[in-house]
Each structure stands twice: as structure tokens, then as C-alpha cells.
Subunit: 453 residues, 3 copies
Amino acid sequence: MFEQHLFPAISQPVSGSIIYEHIRILFPILRSITGKGIRQTLEYVANQIQDFSIVSIPSGTPLFDWMVPDEWNVNSAKIIDTSGKIVLDLNWSTLHILQYSQPFHGTLSRKDLEEHLFTLPDYPDFIPYKTSYYTENWGFCLSENQKKKLTDLHYTVEIDATLSSGSLTYGEVLIPGISQEEFVFSIHCCHPSLANDNLSSLAIAIELIRKLQSLPQRRLSYRFLFVPGTIGSIAWLAQNTEKTKNIKNGLVLSCLGDKGSFTYKKAREDSANINTIMAKIFSDHPKARIWEFEPYGYDERQYCSPGFNLPVGCLMRSPNGTFPEYHTSADNLDFVTPCALEESLCVLLDLITITENALYPVSTSPYGEPQLGKRGLYPLSPNISKADHTKNDMPDQLCLLWVLNLADGKNSILDIAVRSKKSFRAILSAIELLQEADLLKLYSDKQQNAFSP
Amino acid sequence: MFEQHLFPAISQPVSGSIIYEHIRILFPILRSITGKGIRQTLEYVANQIQDFSIVSIPSGTPLFDWMVPDEWNVNSAKIIDTSGKIVLDLNWSTLHILQYSQPFHGTLSRKDLEEHLFTLPDYPDFIPYKTSYYTENWGFCLSENQKKKLTDLHYTVEIDATLSSGSLTYGEVLIPGISQEEFVFSIHCCHPSLANDNLSSLAIAIELIRKLQSLPQRRLSYRFLFVPGTIGSIAWLAQNTEKTKNIKNGLVLSCLGDKGSFTYKKAREDSANINTIMAKIFSDHPKARIWEFEPYGYDERQYCSPGFNLPVGCLMRSPNGTFPEYHTSADNLDFVTPCALEESLCVLLDLITITENALYPVSTSPYGEPQLGKRGLYPLSPNISKADHTKNDMPDQLCLLWVLNLADGKNSILDIAVRSKKSFRAILSAIELLQEADLLKLYSDKQQNAFSP
Amino acid sequence: MFEQHLFPAISQPVSGSIIYEHIRILFPILRSITGKGIRQTLEYVANQIQDFSIVSIPSGTPLFDWMVPDEWNVNSAKIIDTSGKIVLDLNWSTLHILQYSQPFHGTLSRKDLEEHLFTLPDYPDFIPYKTSYYTENWGFCLSENQKKKLTDLHYTVEIDATLSSGSLTYGEVLIPGISQEEFVFSIHCCHPSLANDNLSSLAIAIELIRKLQSLPQRRLSYRFLFVPGTIGSIAWLAQNTEKTKNIKNGLVLSCLGDKGSFTYKKAREDSANINTIMAKIFSDHPKARIWEFEPYGYDERQYCSPGFNLPVGCLMRSPNGTFPEYHTSADNLDFVTPCALEESLCVLLDLITITENALYPVSTSPYGEPQLGKRGLYPLSPNISKADHTKNDMPDQLCLLWVLNLADGKNSILDIAVRSKKSFRAILSAIELLQEADLLKLYSDKQQNAFSP
């Protein structure tokens, strides 16, 4: 109810090359949903930002309908031909191992081996990324061209891996604001050397967190979760069920480094605030796609499960499964660009600008239009007639008029931007001018009877 | 509130040729809104199904703003030329008589006769079907080509008809279910030898009733009314006003045997459940038409009159008045096909499958997704990665995920099918699998707080 | 709640040439937001209609955030070249003076003079209309071709004007009805010799008022405001704030004499009744435009300001700023036509017909359709079968059926016209017939339970 101040639009000081550098450093690590790789990755994040906690949950811990699996680590994995020559080696690519392969040492016929080899015949140079988390198996992923060279009758396989009691690890940071209401960002970080999916989001999140932590005061609290896919978000939900009551908006971040257009997949409830915000942001991006919610994709599946039904959407550029590089060795350091990364961060800063300004303006002069001329807010000569509404400065004039007209306490700043079809930042500038002229007050709650006697 | 069982999707065992056979048998009868023809027709229906009642209401009985008219029967009707030769005879076609013609015997000039002759100049071979129920008149319907041959200066007319106190007759069967809530089907059966309009619906209804009566148990009660148009539905409404309170859905069936695409005309209230059901069924029929309600057409005019405002739509293939054969001798046994009749019955069986499964699923594992893999409900190797969502079995997988996601007690099975854009039968199969895995419960009522502590 | 009578559809007896004549007479006057010109114009209106009041408010009177400005009058204004020849004279066109020019006498270099000359280089023959109400200035408006001829090094300027304490003047007439609920029309009348903007609306309003005053009895009260733009509507609102509570509909009239298609700009609240009415009227005008509200344009800006938020839209033909003649000397007596003026008045008479018939029909025979035939309301022979629904008189038949079907006390006559897609006048004719047949009653309020026992 108290009068509020505007949160200034965030300018963008982080260059895409800084974001890209995080990806470059983390790319070589063999990550999975458990094990050393994801821990090493989370430790890197912990070194970049303040107040980052790394949480470990022991194998066997029940998590709703699930259970923390055994921890998987692999020291080496190779295929050796009959001449003793190594023909495939995990050292060549972190993708070469079927994730959660069990240890295996033995010699097999080529035919038996082939049941454990995974390729992409349509893209003969790409190594696929494959997993078998919850079904016992072992295997190798390789390119179709590599597989064609395996012509011996027998091969020896050496997989030096462990699948044993350990823990599941995820990272978390809460950036507290004046209100306990939370905006949650969720980033899956369980994939090995895949740059877009999802080191891109991890790197962008690091810079977004730094930015938020540098701001003097925030209205909202922001929580970032760096989790292994599916089991990680379920783990957080299971162990923090009470905290979910504070979540008023949320976004799963995924595949934010490629050159494709933006895609926003809606939260389950059509009326969720995050859906309105993203639709507004992308109304200025002609190629951006707004997709309906469906219970397939990333961790929004868990946040939007019916027991929680949290207002969490998913922000992507090219969506999962729609580009050939997806889940292959072609999702590499060349596939993501500093420019795309920077543009994605800009969208998130627009988003913060909007959520921090969830305010309701009330005009102090609501009966007729206030006289803008005497306050220097009306364009003067040579634009001396209302007829000249093609002048360059008229858009701003129209923003002023829209704000004054809708400043009845029932419309939020976002509502005004949506109805006027003006950009949120243009409306924010207009509000700043009008507030300076004492023509507006801002409230954090809707004012149903702002002008009643 | 008690937990419910699924009603299995109805398979279709009735071949179109069986439906067609009813039409073939009933086609020659001269039916009208009263009289021997409609009684004979209803007696045929009574012989085909169980529990069919034939109701008679005496002439002169008031029915709201109407009154049961005199009963009309005609023994013979002919036109004789000056040489004594019969040039038109009711024996040649039941359409030759203007319905409700009064008895007439006399000789007239050709000019005077022509005022009582009805033709279709645009379709010179077709005999029109015409009526004059509530205005005193007599006349003949004939083809334009027949009329052209009438060149004598005088003709003798012999109409041996009776218009006298008798009764109005309609047929009715109630197929009771667990609930007293009713689905009403209404079929007009007052037309003479017109195959599509409306022996097609009468024949389909016979087979639909047989099917429903053969099912072990139904949740809903189904009422079928075989009525003469307008006056028949008004008669039933007038004498059963209290029963209308139980009608939760309804459908007028008309012209269901021609080869045209399906047409569903909505019930008066846009939000009526039957409108949602038919829109869902026809979302899989690309050529099907959904028409807005209008107070012109068949007996939905009476069911949707403002004092009742019942949720009754109208199912047709080619709608009344839109095809040249409509209300002419060309609506004959060649105009309807076994294939179209069978397809129409299938739509009605889909409808029963949907109405019998008006249930609200509630997930037993609503916090995060349940782990489908450990229950054998997740596709395994070689589909070992979520990436492979182009696999053939993924649609079913997506059905499982949609059901689990929306199983919050607020969405009916129909709601889930509509939102997921999956077929109702595919969603039903998914629910069956999930119920077997103890992941779902089904309720007959909406559960507003299914997951509250 | 009492039963109501229909208000007969208004026929249109006023020819466009009568409307045009008002424009012709008033065109030469030099009007501004204050001064002799607007007073002379209002006195003309006062002579045309009954009960017209002219209100004066002294300079300096505060009006919400504004204040009545000094009154501006100009006796003469000219530019004289070095030879003593008059090269521009206010007598040649009322547009030659920059409105609210301060008095000025002096000789200037051509260069200094040019800072006070306003032209339209893109339309070299047009004299622009320019104002500087609230910023001190002086100047001349002229055509680009006139300006090109000014080649002397010096010119003498003589502006004999006064800007001094006086008053603001506006005109007002209230045409009282049975109800205190008001429909307000607002017409700006501050422009000098511009025919379309806005003598067209002023002239139409005179004839509309005459028409309304000639009607025996009206349900609604109608208020017409003839005001100088912006300051005039603010003045009325400031001095009549209590009366705004009775305003249930309103329309700003502007630019109604050109040949362009109609444009309706919606009132601020999308659900405003006036928006529904105008959308219905223009559903029969295929070229008419419906525009969303925006807080730029005419006095609807003031009526729709958030403290009032009155249901006031704006009716135009070609909208302000969209045609080259706008605010120039080309908006002259040739630019408006008797035909367009008459057509605009017709739209307003349609509007009155709709607002006067804001009634809720209730069927006296709501159970099934009433039998129209026995009341002579059903088409008889030769249209003896329902099949012939292509007959010319069937549209009326369908209007009867729509009215009877929707006459449940919840649908207004307008609702019925909208839903049936029939013209309001056709629905009105149907209601008249049904009321004569005692099949309908009309109420002024919605009847939620018209058929309850």
C-alpha cells in the first residue's frame, strides 16, 4: 500500500564474450546427473558468485515417487580391436560413453558389440548423446562413420566405471529482496560437452546473478537452481515443498546460445503472470514463438506437476528436438555465439525490469487530462498544433497520455504497456517523467477505488 | 464422490447394411404427423427393441399453445383425364398427395386444378414433398414433366381421405442407467417415402438403442423419442415437463444417411456440454461443420425454446435445405448409403463413450511426475534418451504425461482430451494404463481441492 | 419493471441540403476557443433550437488542472511589403492568422518574419490551420505558393488583436426524457473556416436536436454540448461533475461531412454499451472501421480520463490526421457533401432508435414455439412447407423465431439483434408484430427469472 519508487530499467553491461568464456571453460567436463563432473561444474559456479550453496543428498533418499540413484563415475572407457589398437576412447569425447554405463570388461563378437553402439545414421559425423539412467546397460556413442570402420570380428571393451552409493548434487542461490515473493530460475546442468544444452543457460545465469547481486535493492527475491534434469528439480521440490508457496513466477532456462529465434513455452495455467510478461517482451520480437504448455520438455514438467502447479514457463531459443545438432557432438563451442548469449541475457534483464516494476500508477490529476504544456511535457513550437502528430517526439507524447489515462490504480505498468502496445521501457520513461512532475503515485497493490471520495 | 470405473470405448459391430435394411423396409409407407403410416412405423420399431412404448394423445388435447389436430388418413387419390384415364395416382408415389389434403371429389378446369398442383420447375424430374397441416387445402405434388403432360381442358379429382378425430402417436424408450441424469435423442418420423429425411436417423437409432440395451451397465440414462415433427416434440414436452429437469444433454438426429460431411448445430447455450463434446468429436473430422444455433430447423427449436432451454443440439450430415434432393422424391433409397449410415452410428458411439466417461481423474502421485520407468510405462532401449521423441510410441507417452499433468480433479477426461488435442480414445487408453498402475483415481464429480492436506 | 412500449424506429425526414445550409452560413466566421466567433456561432445554434443555453466562464477561473485563458479577438492582421502593398490579409481567409497570436506592429527582415510563417510544403496550395493557445507567439499561416512570392528584404506586420480578460463560452441543451439517464453528445466548435472539422457535426447536431425535440416522449434524456476543444469539455466536466453520474452513453461527433467511410473509436472500457451499439450499427456497413480506444484525438480524451471514465466513444467519417485536407484550407465547402451529411445523421437516428429501445422482451408462450399460423404470422400457401426457406418473406419469419427464442428476459432487443445477425430495425418490426399478437411483454430491466413459478 505504501507509495513505491520505480526500479530503473537495467542497462546491459555484460558482453557476450564474457558469457561465452564460462562455456569455454566448462565444456570439456564429463557431467552426468550425479558424479564428479556436475560437482566440479557447481564448484566453478560457486567461485563466480556470492552465497551459492551446493547441496548433496545421499543415494537411496526417497524423493516423492523417486529415489536418489547410485552415483556414477567413469575413469576410462575404450574399445580395443584384435590388434590391440584403441578404436574408441572416452578421452576423445565425453559423449562416447552411454551415460550410466555399468562397468564392463570383456571381449565380444562385433555383432554382440553392435547392440551397445549408438549412432545417428542420418548425421554420419555426429556423435549422439545417450543415457540409460534407470535401466541397467552399458554402451558407447559414436559417429556412424566411426562405426563403419569397426570391421574386426571381435573387440575388447574396457569400461572402468563405478555405480555405487554416493550422492546427488545441486546448487542454489537465493538473492533476497524486500518481499518474500520469489522468482525462480531453474537450469539443468547434467549434460556433458553440450554447449547450447545447457552450458548456455548456466553461463547466462551466472552473469544474471552477478547483475542482480550488484543492484542496491530488489523488491522481489530471486532463487536460482542449478540441477540435474528431472531428478534434480524433483529433489529440490521434495526437500523445499514449503518454500514453493512463495514462488510467484518462474522460468526454466534452456538452449539460450544458438542463433535461432526465441521460444517461450507457457506455464500450465494460461493466466499465469509469467505468460503475460513473456508475451509482452516477445511482442517486440517478430520471429519469437509463444508455445502452449505441454507436459513434455524440461524441468517445467516437474514445477507444473498438478500437486505444485507453479507458474513456471520455459525460455529457449531453438527448442529441444527441433535442430539436428540437438543432443549431439555438433552442439559444440561453434554452435553457440557471444551475440546470441548476450541477446538472451538482455531478454532476462527486460524480464527483471518488468517484474521489479510490478506497480500500479495512480494519477494525481485524474479529472480531465492534466495540462502538460505548463509542465514542459507538451511539444511546443514549431509543433504548435495537435495536427502534427507525425513528429518524432509524438510516440513519447502518446506514452504520457496512455499512462495518464490508465493510471487509475487498477492497471499495472505491464497492463499499460500491453494495452498501449508501447514498449515497457517507453512506458517506464513516461512514468518517470510524470512522477517527477508530481502527476503520478505508484503503489505495490491494485487500488480498486483510487479516486473515491 | 465415490471412486468410479472407466467405461470402455464402444467398438462398432453393426454393419451399415443392417441399418440400411430398416430403411428399405420402412420406405414405402405413407407417413404423416398422424395416421396409420406413423403408427405402422412405430410398431416396426417396437418389434426391433425392448421396452418401447407407443403413446397416443386424442385429437383436441391442448399442448401448450397448440392442440392435437385431427387424424389424417388417405385411402386413395387420383387425377383422371377427360378420357377416363388415371394421369396421377397416389399408388405411384406417397409424395403425390399434399399432406393433410381434405377429401375432394369433382371435376375442374385445368386452370383451377393447377392451383392445387405443386412442382419443382428447377428439377423437372423430382416430385416435391409438401404439407398443409394447419391450413385447409387439398392438392397434388408431381414432377414438372408430369405436369406438362396435363393438357386436357378439364380433370376429375378423387381424393378419398379422412380428417377426423383420432390421435397423435409417438414412440419412446428409456434405457435407465445408474444416474437419473438423461441424454435425450429425438428423431422425427413423420415424413413419407424420404430415405435420408428421416428414415436414416430412425434406422440408426434402432441400432444405437440395441447397442445401449446390450451394455451391462450405464452411468447415464438414455431416452429416445420418435416423434412427428414440431407437434410431436411439443406433445412430449407438454406431457413430461417435470422430466425435462433431468436432461443434461440431447441431440436431434436428422438426415444421417447421405454422403455429405457431418454438421453439428449447437444447442442454444453456447456453453452447453453437448457443444463441447461434438466439437471435440469433430476436431478429428476435417470436413465437419459446426454451426451456431438458430431457431430454425428441426425439433431443437422446441427443446431450446426459452421456457425449457434444454442443452439439445442437432446432428446432421448435409443440413436441411442445402441439397437439391431435400424434400423431394430424389431423397430415395439410392440417396443413402450403408457406409454413411455406419459412419454416423460410429459418431454416436463415440459420443456415448464420452458421456459415459464424464469422470474427473486425480493423480495419486501429483508432486513431480511419477517415475514411469519402474512401472514399465516409459519407453526403454533403444529409445534410451528423451531426445527420441519422434518414435512411434511417443504419442501414447505424451497421452500418459498429459493425463498425469491434468489429473488434478478439476479437469474431466473430456477436458484433458480437448486441451491435449489427443483423441478421446487415446486419452482413455492412457487412463486405463495409469489406473492399472495405481497412479489415478476417477471421480464422478469435480474435485476442487484434490491435493489439499 | 413496469411493462414498456416500443419506441418506433425513427424515419429520416431531413435532407442533407438542409444540414449543408447551416455549414454554408457558419463557414466564414473566424472561430477560436474564446472570442466573438464562437459566441456568434453559438447564437446561431440558439436560434435554431429550443432551450439552448449559452454559458460563459470568466478568464482565470480554475478548471481542475487548467484555467480559463484570456479571451482572444482579432480585428485585422496583415503583412505589407516595402512598397506599401498588402501581401497577406486576414480578410482573405480566417486561417491566415496563427490562432492566439498576440498583437504585433513592426517591420522585420524577411528572415525574421519567416520564423512566424507556417506553410505546408507538401501541399503548396493549402493554407494550414495552426494554433498557439498556451504559448505566447504570433504568426501567419499561408500557402507555400504565397510564401514564395515574399521576396522583399523587409516586411511590415500589423496584427490588431486583443488577448485580455473575458470569458470562455460553450452551449448546452438538455432534452429531458422519462429517465434521468443521459446520452451525451459532444461537438467541438472552436475551429475557424473548416467545414468538415467540425461544422459538419455542429450542423448535424442541430437537426438531430430538432428531431429529438419533436418526438412526443423519450425514455432517455439527451444532452448536447457545443464546446471549444479540450478546455471546453474540461470546463463542462469541472462545473457539472455531479451530473456525470447520469451519463450512461456518449459520443463525440467529429468530421461527419466528408465522403470517407465511417470510423467509430471505442470508449475506454471495452464493455461499454455504446461500443456494442456502434459495432452493431456498423455490422451493416462493410467499409466502416471500428478502432480501439486511444487517449489521443478529440474530447473523448477528457470524458474518458480516469477520474470520470465515462462511456463515451467518438464517431467520425475520415479520422483526424488521415486525410490531406485535415486542418487546412482544403477542408472547405466543397469537401463536405449533403449526401454524406444525411447519411451521418441516419446513423445517429439508428443509434437513438437503439438506445430508446433498450428493453428486455419476455415471451408469454415460452414452452415450445407458439403456433404462429393461427395468428397469421406463419407464411401460408404457396409456401406451405417449411422447405421453402428461400422465400422472400422468410427473413422476417426468422426474425420472429429469433425474438421468440431469445425472449427470456435476459436478452435485450440489442442482444437479440446482435446474436441473430439481423438488423435492429428488422428485429424491431418482428417485436412489434409479436407484441400485437400478445406473444411478448417488454421490460426496462433484465428479468433474471422470467419463467419461474
